[in-house]
Symmetry: C2
Subunit: 325 residues, 2 copies
Amino acid sequence: MVVKIDDVARLAGVSKTTVSRVLNNRGYLSDTTIKKVHDAMESLNYQPNAVARQLFKKETKLVGLIFPTVDNPFFGQLVAELEKRLFDSGFKVLIGNSMNDPEKEETYLKELISNQVDGLIVGAQNRDISEYHTSNLPVVSIDRNMNEDIPVISSDNYQGGKLATELLINSGAKHIINTNGPVNLKTPANRRTQAYADVMASHNMVPHTYVIDFNWDINKKERIINEMFKEYPEMDGIFVTNDMDAALVWRTAVKLGYKIPQDLKIVGYDGANSTRVLLPELTTIEQPIDEIAQVAVKTLIDRIQGKEIPAEQILPVKVWKGQSV
Amino acid sequence: MVVKIDDVARLAGVSKTTVSRVLNNRGYLSDTTIKKVHDAMESLNYQPNAVARQLFKKETKLVGLIFPTVDNPFFGQLVAELEKRLFDSGFKVLIGNSMNDPEKEETYLKELISNQVDGLIVGAQNRDISEYHTSNLPVVSIDRNMNEDIPVISSDNYQGGKLATELLINSGAKHIINTNGPVNLKTPANRRTQAYADVMASHNMVPHTYVIDFNWDINKKERIINEMFKEYPEMDGIFVTNDMDAALVWRTAVKLGYKIPQDLKIVGYDGANSTRVLLPELTTIEQPIDEIAQVAVKTLIDRIQGKEIPAEQILPVKVWKGQSV
DNA sequence: AATTGTATGTCAACCGGTTGATATAAAATA
DNA sequence: TATTTTATATCAACCGGTTGACATACAATT
């Protein structure tokens, strides 16, 4: 049967209070007693039941992560780094892939709250979900504007949009298109499109932003991208809002007979590890994904500890010069 | 303050036993009482404390996943699909990225056991870690041979290795190299290399297997791959044990002046979603990743329910014809 | 009218670990 | 010698929800 603290106490010849003191390194304890208790634990293969302690301590050492999916280079790298840093800081991670579905996100949120997570790091849909406000839970957001209570970590999206657009213009592109997700999704990533429009205006160029929804499947995306090429046959430059879509744009252009970058210059956004290995030719705006994770974890731990934290933290981007511009 | 079942009972004007009966849909209950209780829960924004119930029920509805990392197309897709199916089956997922480090894996295992997970799905290091045996926890393994107690799900690695090698031979390659991870890692993936050797022998060709460790960083991998090109200058075909490494081989070959596939034919293994988008030109042996996840979740749930399950389940692979052969 | 079913309450114990209050005894210190 | 510190035990309550046993009252059925 499952070994309990009483069993350890009996074998060690001490009280369960003493075993608890050894487990928690609390109170006066002789070296002899400590050794006897450890020997008993090892002998019985005792594994303390964290659930009992969580109930009493009102602290689970669990953190919930809600992101669209880890089946994606950007989110995969982000979640991997978040998990690593949280674990190194004594937390375990409960993960929810919400697929940007508000109902699914709300279900996850309720489940995580019910499981008494100590905090949340989220980067998913942000349609008004009341539990974010009512639960009094420390939350940190990545690339999503939730409300003024919830700190946001993001890359310098505006600067990234600016760099991308200027790079295309300086490389001779004259008809530059931008793609973005749905604008009702409140995210700092919208600043990429804003920067694109600003830079275009300052060069007396007409901006065009094409919506490609993150959640569309590959086939739908390919159809929409084909339509984009039909709709803008003069397009000779494109700033794509993420690398996966940039890759699709690239493949579609090649199929249509375009030469990259002679006929069409392409800039993406993300620069994740996997993308770097699988498609290093793609010129892209590189987000500091590992740094975003590091800052998010530090901010969450500060929130859990009740410290003052900044409302927004914007981390610098870089240009990765591939061969698509 | 935090709302408890007593608070809901007081507002609804019933006993906490009645609230518990409503929560669990147990015993006789009138519609009026059910409504009163639900209204009170909503009014107070009551969120049941799962920890208390977990302690009593000795069931957490949590499943632990231990994989090397989700910052990788194959594991990212696998973990995303596992999480989705587990959540749809009423479980939440605690994730541990072990980076193939046995000590880290053991730490994760202990933590997950302590957190009373109902089961585990693992696909990481498998060096003898005693807790897999002693904890009496339902475990399912993906692509790892643990012991005869633990069921294994994998793709048909032998068939994959056979298909890859035959494809290279049938395309005219005469000097074919294979890469694999460290052979002391007990994994069905070693059958890829076995199949390669068997097919080569049957064509009177000398097999060469080059070890590339999954955990080496990009720089070390690139160095080792460069050395491989120096050591086998006559190489005109290569079967790479995973797509990320295949991409690195491709880039290195191009840098060295090879034309793909004229001078060097390349076959990878995995065929993950992200790889398909970012490098569709890569010819690869496509694992049924989503099916592996589906079977693993079904097997784990069967184990949790004490049902008889098969010791090994091998799922069919396919060839993805890119342009690298 | 008697019996059975429905509805809800009371009570207390439990799940496993934590911990404060208090007690006792021995060792160390002033 | 008196006081303080160290070491360990006992006891019981707690954390929040679950649930069985039993009670009471009313409604439905035989």
